[in-house]
Structures are given as C-alpha cells and as structure tokens.
Symmetry: C2
Subunit: 316 residues, 2 copies
C-alpha cells in the first residue's frame, strides 16, 4: 500500500482549516473556509466533510490513502465518544460530531480539545519533534495546555488533564477570582487578559508608565513597553513569567517532562518573556528535575491545531 | 501452569522485608530480617536472595511459580538498568542491584524507589484498587510521592516524576530553604520535619501552646494538641494540610487523577489532617477537575512497599 496520509481539522468559530499531513507530521496541504456557525451543527459538520473531500481530491493522494481524520475544537467534549457536550463559540450542545462525520466520510474520526491538539501537533513535528514526554502551554486570551506522554495526549480520568491555566499558583494574598470559579489560577496573571488587566490596574493607580498614553491596552503593548524599558510594564511581564515558571517547577517534579513548549499569541513576545520564565524555573526546580529539561517556543504557529488533529489517528 | 506469584522486597536501612503476593496483589506471606548495611552491598544482596528463596521454600508455592521479583529502596536509581546510583541510607554507590540479584536468583528482577513502589502497592490492592490513575503522597520525615498512570508507575523523563515533596508551593514571602536546594517546597511545611519545625518556632516565639511543656516535640504531639483544641497546634496542622490541598489542586488540572491517596506516618493523624486537605482542594480546584475525585488514606500501611515491589513485574 502507498503512503498513508492523515487529515486534520481545526474547527474555529470563524474558520474551518483542513490539512493533510504525511506520516511524519509534515503539513503538505491546507484549505481554509468559513465556519458559518449560524447555520447550525449539521451544516457545519457537512461543510467539514466537504472541505476534507475537497482537499484530498485536489491533492495527488487518493481517498484510500486517508488513514484517519481528526478534529480539534474548543469546548467540553466526551472524547472517547466523540461528542461535543458544550461549545460556547460554536453554540453546540451534545453534538455527536464523531458519529456524524464518520457517516459522512466513511473513515475513522477522532475529536479532541484545541489545546490538547495543538500540544500534540507541536510534540509530533514542531518544537517537540523526537521527544516523547512534553508539556505545552498555550498563552492566549486564556492559558491552555496539553500533556503529551509517550507521544500521545494524556486526558486524565475526566478529560481535565493539561488545564494548566487553572493551576492554583498565585498566593492567596494576591489572588483574584478566575472565570472558572476558583481563585489564584495561572490564567489570571499569565494570559493576555491577565496581562492587560494588570496594565489597566497600574494605569488606574496612576503609576508612571508609557501605557497610560494608550487609549486601549493590548498584551503586545505591555511587551513593547517592557522592551523599551518601561518599569511598570517590565514588572507586569515578570509577574506573568514568574507564575508560568513556578507552575513549570511544580510540573517538573510531578511529571518530569523532557521539554516545555510555549505557544499562543503571548509567546510571540520572545526573550523578554522566556528569560524570566527560565530564571524562575531554575530557581524553584530541584536540580535532578531540571537536568536536560528545556523551555522552548512553539514552532508550528497557527498550524499546530491542524497538525495535531491529524495526529489524533496515529498509533506510534 | 499453576497460579503465578510475585515477590516483593522492601529494602530498608535496618530491615529487609520480603513478601509473596498473588495475582491480585494480596499479600500471602512475609518474612523480615536484618539488613546489616555494614556488611556491604554484595552481602546485603546475597541476604535478599536468601530471604527470597526462604520465603518461597517455606510456602506452598514452587520456585517455578515465581513470575518475577521486585525491590523498592530509597536512593537515586537508574531504574531501567536497575542500578543504585547512590543510596545514602544503604551507603551504596553504583551498585548493579538488578544484575547481581538476577544472577543469584535466575529470575527477572526490577527495582524502583520506595515512594513509587508504595504508590504502586496502594494502587494495586490498597486504597486505589480498581482505579487506574492515582496520585499517592507519602507523608513522613519528608514528603514522597508516586504517580500511577494506567496502573503503572510513571517515571517521567529523568525518573523524577512523583517527587511531590518538591513542588514549589509555599509563597515566596513565607518560604524557607529545602534540603533539595530549592525554596518553598511542600516538604518544608507538610512533612513531619516541617510540622515539628513550625511547632518549635512557635514555642521559641513564646506563643501560648501546650506544646511548650514538652521536652521534645514530635509531629504526633502537634496533632494530639490540635485534637485537644490547642490553637497554635491547629494552625500548624491547617498550614501543613493547606499546602497539601493546594498541591493536589494543581495536580488535578495537570494530571486529573481519579483519586489521591495519602500514606506515611503523618497520615495516621486522621480527619484532623484530611478534613482541611479536602476543604483546600475543593476551594482551589475547578469543578470539572474535582468531580468524582476523592482523597483517601492509604490502607496497606507498612506493607505498601512489599506489595508494590511485587507489582513491579506485573503487565496488566
């Protein structure tokens, strides 16, 4: 039999991105089209099936070469059953995504949540290629994560493994409420939202910062100001980095992964973020648990989701 | 072939305990004798081999029924190679324990560290029987731990997984140095040593506590005083419990285990320790990550090590 290909679907609220990967996780083709959430689940799943067929038809591969199809999306999922229990951005409730797609496509379909899938993508052919035990952070509006053990996504008993943004890491004395209902979650300080909140608080307190001149502060503005030497911005960036580093120190003695990968929009800030993360990690991790462990930026960017979704059907 | 049996060895600095388990992890026979560390590694390994042969000879089982032998000990190990790199309490350096025992016994031998092995024992036939994903804490002089994923010990990339005592969990502002070289480790507050230190500090500060009347304070004294309503002792117990609960809250969103098991001498304190641990866990863990997750005492006591060591040769 000829080479097998793996199809990945990144199902977002605005666009559906479909990709073909080879057996090594190399992304060969992508196709992107609108989700049109307003049409409802059945129509959106039909659109996914159309895009999948189209990308294969337009390639040099045959349908028989498709080893499986995977889809990543945001929401609460029943992963083994392939059911989307609730997805706020798609507006779905109890949608049998796996079953419906399998009927439409006649191939095995697997679904998983977007942060897990991005982690698998990075582990397969991105910043974690060749490494079996990886922990990925996705720093965006929130803080997501994924745990890759032995090259597979680790779901945990209730599918909540890798929810790194909800590690209770901020000391009680300075903790604020998190959207999840708890207090002191990593996400409250180390997400774009958290960084912007800290910047707005500083401006409101009339602290001396160039950020006060902006009409609306974005996380990127805080990093830019920090790079210019703005003390307040630097303090905010260091605080965001500090708690990421501390959370990694804990994970290092719980799971002892070989590599931490950081992706998502916030990670594009670069060394101004990574240097204090690494410093904090070194400070709080016992030597044996940090030996040979590195902290690196994700490399696949927005493709991590498609690649990881394709990888859901791999059996190494 | 008749039923298989599994031999476990708990190699301590004072005694060697050997046990026979059946396929369900039930401990059928045990034999205990002195380690005599001063005789050196070769003699101690010879003694283990003698005890193993003796316990089988004295039983109704035959040597052919022995499926494998496992040993748990404290130290830095190369687990796949079965080498004791360094064991302070045995005084061993680079001892090829697995190889030597296999030569002496003609059976497969596996070694692992004592906290991992105790965790496996509890997961196999103790408080975690029937559950696949378990995190165990051992609260003694230090705080040890073990991660059981899919009924097997998870070692991590460098063998440092499950070193729960070194989670950096105490906020910087109140953190003290840990023996591991880091600051704010769980072990500094939640081990017997940590509890005694906090009690001594309180007495030294002339706080009003019944503990001041004791010549030498043990962890049990602190729990006893707390049970009598001593406010200072209660505060110390709550602090020790608080950080265990917080560490579990983090683990719940990293690994999402189904059950936390707490063993070791300190765990015998009972509800006065478990209640505040559970309260803290509930406070800091998102609902989805604590649904169906329980926190229970270990049930095998001192046998956990022998049972878990026997379980090292299981392939579920």
């Amino acid at each position: 039999m000829a080479n097998q290909i793996y199809i990945g679907v990144d199902l977002g609220g605005t666009n559906i991105k479909v990709g073909i990967c080879d057996e090594n996780g190399q992304l060969l083709h992508t196709y992107e089209g609108p989700t049109k959430v307003e049409d409802g689940a059945e129509a959106v799943l039909g659109r996914i099936a159309d895009y999948v067929r189209k990308i294969v038809d337009d390639s040099d591969f045959t349908w028989d070469q498709v080893a499986g199809i995977g889809a990543g999306l945001a929401g609460f999922l029943d992963i083994p059953e392939g059911i989307v229990k609730f997805s706020p951005n798609l507006g779905w409730n109890n949608v049998q995504a796996k079953k419906i797609l399998e009927e439409k496509l006649g191939k095995t379909v697997k679904i998983d949540n977007d942060a897990n899938v991005a982690a698998l993508g990075e582990a397969w052919s991105g910043a974690g290629a060749g490494i079996k035990n990886v922990v990925c952070y996705t720093l965006g509006t929130g803080v997501g994560g994924g745990i890759i053990i032995d090259s597979h996504i680790y779901q945990g008993s209730g599918g909540m493994a890798g929810e790194l943004g909800h590690m209770s890491i901020v000391p009680d004395i300075e903790a604020i409420n998190c959207g999840c209902g708890q207090v002191g979650c990593l996400e409250t300080v180390s997400s774009a939202t958290g960084i912007v909140r800290m910047a707005n608080d500083a401006v409101e307190r009339s602290e001396h910062t160039s950020l006060a001149l902006l009409e609306k502060i974005a996380a990127k503005d805080v990093f830019d100001a920090a790079k210019q030497g703005d003390d307040v911005a630097l303090r905010i960036v260091h605080r965001a980095a500090h708690y990421i580093g501390k959370s990694m120190a804990s994970i290092a003695v719980v799971l002892n992964p070989q590599r931490f990968i950081i992706g998502g929009g916030v990670s594009k800030a670069g060394e101004i973020l990574f240097t204090p993360i690494r410093e904090t990690f070194l400070k709080f991790t016992p030597e044996q648990a940090r030996e040979g462990v590195d902290i690196v930026p994700a490399t696949l960017g927005n493709d991590a989701g498609v690649v990881g979704a394709a990888g859901l059907n791999l059996n190494h």
